[in-house]
């Protein structure tokens, strides 16, 4: 048996109610301890209000070679961004 604790990815929701954000990783024997360790390692400066941990090996990632097909199509759909549309100044805030 390998004696190394498994690796966990840590996600923290900051003070301002934003989405959980990946902040780094750490080692822990199981999920409960990973939460404890995340609290001690990644919130030393009062950075968070909620913690998620996920075993690194449980993350399924898009493969880098598919980056073109996955993300390029969205590049051409500029109309999805509000800045695509010109709003006349007279109209005011929209």
């Amino acid at each position: 048996m390998s004696s190394e604790w498994p690796l966990w990815e840590v996600f923290i929701r900051g003070q301002h109610g934003l989405n959980h954000r990946h902040v780094g990783s750490l080692h822990a024997p199981d999920a409960e301890m990973a939460i404890h360790n995340a609290r001690d390692v990644y919130t030393r400066r009062n950075e968070g209000v909620s913690i998620w941990v996920v075993r690194s090996t449980d993350i399924t990632a898009s493969t880098p070679s598919e980056k073109g097909p996955l993300f390029d199509p969205a590049n051409s759909k500029v109309y999805r961004h509000p800045t695509f549309f010109d709003v006349p100044d007279e109209v005011g805030h929209m």
């Binding site: 004696s3 190394e4 604790w5 690796l7 780094g24 750490l26 080692h27 024997p29 030393r44 880098p64």
Partner: protein
């Protein structure tokens, strides 16, 4: 620096024309300022060099806990004790972030520890010098962290994503370290003659080792040239050392201290200080393991690791048992 004289495996820096298409595309992305992320294609030499550099950096952080940790139990006030403990704890955190960054390159933390404990991996020469007085704690914050910041700020822009992001986090936390060091000294030089003498003595001992942290001149080094081409090193050693001296000497003046270098002189034409050459023979001896504290530092790390084996195994065994209970319990209940 925390990573000194990192080798790159290469004998010369290839031009774009010499590269296979894959490598050329990689190099062009780096030159365009894009970040390389884990699992993306990268030259094996780039990966290996990064593993060496990041792990050496991580080792320096955790070995660096020891000389300062020495004084936590002797800190002169409750507030100083808390600040120093928080600072040394930060170093452990920095080591942790860096080990994790290196792990994205396909090496485990245990393997890196093994390399440290066997003496195969290096760590910064600076931590093999002893901390002999409370003023040394101030001097380390001011000079050693000051020198480290010189190097770490540009590394926030390095080409490897996880390393760059670790550096961002580290730099954010590090900003209090140098100040707490300077603050210790500023208080002491306003104190009794004995305190002031203690500060001067600390500067006398830490000045030259701090300059050595940047490593010998690397203008002719193929390793440095390659690392710069890969953007995992941004400035030459001499450049950073000059910047450090220019920044630090006025601070020493402010404290009323004498920098122990008879050759130190302001050079109007270059707009910086001229200064003497560190004792590079000493540097190479320390790097080779012959410094005053090498054996003790490594011994302490090995002991912590060996003595802690039963603890790590115990927790792992419990996690396995608990997992087994969770998976068999529903079946038993049916």
């Amino acid at each position: 620096m925390y990573a000194q004289m990192v080798k790159t495996d290469g004998t010369r820096v290839k031009s774009l024309d010499d590269m296979e298409p894959e490598e050329r595309a990689f190099q062009q992305r780096i030159e365009a300022g894009q970040k390389i992320e884990p699992k993306e294609w990268m030259p094996e030499a780039y990966r290996k060099t990064l593993v060496r550099q990041i792990s050496q950096h991580a080792h320096s952080e955790i070995v660096g806990q020891l000389p300062e940790g020495n004084w936590i139990t002797r800190a002169p006030t409750l507030e100083r004790k808390a600040i120093l403990l928080a600072k040394v704890q930060d170093e452990a955190g920095h080591g942790l972030y860096l080990y994790c960054a290196a792990e994205t390159l396909g090496i485990s933390r245990d393997e890196m520890y093994e390399q440290l404990h066997s003496g195969k991996a290096k760590y910064s020469s600076i931590f093999n010098y002893p901390t002999l007085s409370w003023a040394d704690i101030g001097a380390i914050g001011w000079l050693v962290d000051g020198a480290a910041i010189m190097n770490q700020v540009p590394l926030q822009r390095c080409s490897y994503g996880p390393y760059a992001r670790a550096m961002v986090r580290i730099c954010k936390e590090e900003s209090f370290h140098q100040r707490q060091g300077f603050d210790i000294l500023a208080k002491m030089v306003k104190g009794t003659p004995a305190q002031k003498a203690m500060v001067q003595d600390a500067l006398d001992r830490w000045w030259w080792p701090s300059l050595m942290m940047f490593g010998p001149s690397d203008d002719a080094s193929v390793h440095s040239a390659q690392s710069m081409a890969w953007k995992i090193k941004q400035n030459s050693n001499d450049e950073l050392r000059q910047k450090f001296v220019d920044q630090t000497v006025p601070q020493a003046d402010y404290l009323g201290l004498t920098v122990p270098d008879p050759e130190l002189k302001w050079n109007e034409t270059k707009g910086g200080y001229d200064f003497g050459e560190p004792d590079w023979k000493e540097f190479f001896e320390v790097i080779a393991g012959n410094g005053l504290c090498n054996a003790e530092r490594l011994g302490a790390r090995r002991k912590a690791w060996d003595d802690g084996a039963w603890f790590r195994e115990g927790l792992l065994a419990h996690a396995a048992k608990a997992e087994a209970r969770r998976t068999t319990a529903p079946a038993a209940a049916e």
